[in-house]
Amino acid sequence: MWMILAFSAGVASSAAQPATNDSTGFTPKATETCLATMAESQDPATCIGASANLCMETTEGGWSTYGMSTCLNHELQYWDARLNAAYKDVQAKRKATDKEMTELESSAPSQSESLLAMQRAWIGFRDAKCDYERSLWGGGTGGGPATVSCHMYITAEQALFLEADAMVE
């Protein structure tokens, strides 16, 4: 599973770096500040993309198709690293529960297996949803950044979803 996730995300490992090697100077700070200071009933989705937007604003050529894709991809990689970390965390906890249940000779279904099934289904959903969003752009060049944006949003939402599950022992 780990391989599937890493493979699907491309260069997930590079996302842990705080700053980037290209000229954008992307940092996830704007997104993190937004999440840390939001009102209780605020939609966390309103914080997704804050760092990518700042990157577009502060980088020369940031609003070109290439610039947008680059900035959005940086934030995608940031969320992908968070998703992978949260998944690993939930998986470790669910495996521990499975082990306890086995020791108790319980017939309870495996939590870690159903977590894996969910995450595989999510990958299929993510790809199909973002293919559909690309189709809304016809063959236009906006379809490139739009697809990266779609992946950024859905990955961020799944990361937040799994981070909530990771809080349960």
Binding site: D43, S110, W122, G124, D127, K129, D131, D165
Partner: protein
Amino acid sequence: MGLRILIAVAAVPILVAVMPSFAQGIAFSPDATETCLADIDRKTDRRICVGQSARACEQGGDIAGCMSAEIAYWDARLDVVFGLVMERAIGKDGNATSLNLIPRDQAGALQTAQDSWLAYRADACAFEQTFWSSGDADSPEVRACHLYLTAEQVFYLEAIALIE
């Protein structure tokens, strides 16, 4: 042009058809959810409105019945908006063919996305089912999972319907 009106008009017959099976002894109305959605600003998480009608209805005592009724409400709303977005996709695919433009299959992409979402919802809620101790498909946690995921898909497709 109010999509809301269109949806409301289209949704009513379906809801009327769906309700009787749940309506034995419970008084469900989607008003609390709809009023909440109408009143919040863009930054507020719309999920705070999801489940409000079920909670209002529960004062009558049938918690599971009320939850089922709100799930049925969101399912009906999903059917309506999916039908609308699909109809437009089919129309655009047809236009591309008749105008000799590059062939496109937005309808197919939408159907694949919806099918994969249904598979995701099933697996996500199955995980919730093992995650919580009762392990019961009818448990409040599993119902809540269906309710929230369905409502989020409705919000997504309704936003698409407004852009197009």
